[in-house]
């Protein structure tokens, strides 16, 4: 029984549909996130990568389709069961989402204090180790408004790892990082995944960095999964959309412009009073 569960994907998404108003974000996508692997979700801006993470963590609910996490169907999970499940998850938000009225140290200690009865000395050691891993042990007494965007995201990573989760979801972790931090972060995500036997979901549009560490990549465009495979398979893909995205080409099936009427019609149309 245990073996069967272990061989199942950690996250299983089937027939996922989601719309914002009239705009379709996902049109029936299927995704498997394998245990112990780094799975990247890539795609141009506005394809709903962050929305997908919110759906996986049930911060929002899908219009239809199912999302299973470790065998539990999260669509119908009760509030308490959902919170139990979230204690096994860590999420790194694009903005960091740090609590702004407490220090870096207290931010990382926050989930430990909320969910455990550990002694203060033990909490201190744990927090310092987590901060050391992201290189910010020295910044423990700073307030979040004293950090740069990149530093805030590293603190948020330490906080996401505070309760030693089984799965970590990264939302654009490389944005705003300097080249040195970026290199360290890339290594860190891989090391954390392998050393702690984590399952990682990485949402990003940084092709080079993502390809360095991902075991499997899904490319999403126009609400559908247009390609899936290892980084090598992706580079060898014949799909025009994937080629355009991987090589950053201006022309191809993925448009740069948000849907709009032709420019000439728009410009010559009378101004609205």
């Amino acid at each position: 029984m245990q073996n069967t569960k272990e061989s199942q994907p950690f996250v299983k998404i089937r027939g996922l549909h989601f719309s914002r108003g009239a705009r379709k974000i996902f049109d029936g996508i299927d995704i498997d996130i394998e245990r112990g692997k780094v799975t990247a979700i890539m795609g141009p801006s506005g394809t709903g990568k962050t929305t997908l993470l919110k759906l996986i963590t049930r911060q929002i609910r899908p219009d239809s389709g199912t999302i299973e996490i470790d065998g539990q169907l999260i669509n119908t999970l009760s509030h308490s069961k959902l919170y139990e499940l979230r204690m096994r998850m860590g999420m790194l938000f694009q903005s960091g989402a740090l609590l702004t009225d407490i220090t870096v140290f207290e931010n990382v200690a926050y989930p430990i204090r909320e969910h455990t009865d550990l002694q203060e000395s033990m909490i201190r050691r744990l927090v310092l180790l987590k901060l050391e891993a992201v290189g910010l042990r020295g910044a423990r007494d700073l307030m979040p408004n004293e950090l740069s965007g990149g530093m805030a995201r590293r603190v948020a990573l330490a906080r996401a790892m505070a309760l030693d989760p089984e799965i970590v979801l990264y939302d654009e972790p490389f944005t705003g990082q300097d080249p040195i931090s970026m290199g360290i972060l890339v290594k860190l995500i891989r090391q954390l995944n392998d050393a702690s036997r984590l399952t990682s979901i990485l949402v990003s549009h940084d092709v080079a960095e993502t390809c360095q560490i991902a075991d499997r990549i899904y490319v999403i465009s126009d609400g559908k999964v247009v390609e899936r495979g290892t980084p090598d398979e992706l580079h060898a893909s014949e799909s025009a959309a994937v080629k355009q995205f991987i090589h950053g080409l201006p022309d191809g099936p993925v448009g740069f412009h948000f849907p709009a009427p032709p420019l000439a019609d728009d410009i010559l149309a009378p101004a609205k009073p």
Binding site: E84, F93, A97, T100, H115
Partner: protein, 260 residues
């Protein structure tokens, strides 16, 4: 044309009741977290400090001036009838029955209510609530419930302080400057003010105003559009809605409490 108007009216009505429903759901969620708060009183004390202690200065200074103005005006009117000994009773009854709870409610909405809305709105805009959700911490119970309970406790205490300082201000003007007999000032007050009819009703009024102002402030922050303009509008709405709620509720409560 008429159909358009009707449609707009219908949309407005639906939106209004939807919002009202969300506000009540939020209230239920907040109240469901009250028992959890008993296990972590430190969350409550921090908010009692933020909402209550930090409002003491504005409340006491306002109370002092309101009491002094009441005594001045009251003295001029009462002196015409030779009834200046009743000044103490007039000042105390006005403060305890009406001005204490009402002005405290209005000042609390302006100082603490607007701050609450801005704080909660900005927490929402900067994804701090989503961050808490993902740490398996319920933001309503962890962040909003302590603030609601702190508001309920703070406002009756602040209103009592307002009235007490006001009475002192009144005695300073009446007894100290206008020369009203001190014994008459205090004994008239003592014989007129009734524990049940005045003091308890004043506490009930201020408790209800505290509840209304804090609920409005928290809901506006929690339900705001998470942008700078959205937070700014929500903060304005908090002050306007709270002021209207305090004045409207005061009329109804006065009618129930003192109407024969």
């Amino acid at each position: 044309m008429i159909l358009d108007q009707l449609q707009r009216l219908g949309q407005w009505g639906i939106a209004f009741f939807e919002r009202l429903g969300r506000a009540h759901l939020l209230l239920l969620q907040m109240l469901s977290g009250t028992f959890g708060l008993l296990r972590r009183p430190s969350l409550l004390t921090a908010q009692l400090f933020n909402l209550g202690v930090l409002s003491v200065l504005i409340i006491t200074v306002s109370g002092l001036f309101v009491g002094m103005v009441l005594a001045l005006q009251g003295y001029y009117v009462l002196a015409d009838f030779g009834a200046e000994e009743s000044l103490g009773a007039t000042v105390a009854a006005s403060l305890i029955r009406e001005l204490g709870p009402v002005v405290t409610g209005l000042l609390f909405a302006g100082r603490a209510g607007s701050a609450l809305t801005a704080e909660i709105g900005l927490m929402k805009a900067t994804e701090q609530f989503s961050g808490l959700e993902m740490m398996a911490v319920d933001p309503v119970k962890r962040i909003l419930t302590p603030r609601l309970i702190a508001g309920l406790i703070s406002v009756p205490l602040l209103a009592s302080m307002f009235s007490a300082i006001g009475v002192l201000g009144g005695s300073f003007i009446g007894v100290g400057l206008q020369g009203v007999d001190e014994g008459a000032f205090w004994s008239h007050m003592q014989s007129t003010i009734d524990l049940q009819k005045d003091i308890y009703n004043s506490l009930i009024k201020s408790f209800i105003f505290g509840f209304a102002c804090t609920w409005i402030a928290l809901f506006q922050g929690y339900d705001c559009v998470p942008t700078s303009e959205g937070v700014s509008r929500a903060t304005t709405r908090t002050v306007v809605h709270s002021a209207l709620a305090v004045l409207g509720l005061d009329f109804m409560l006065t009618a129930v409490m003192y109407g024969s």
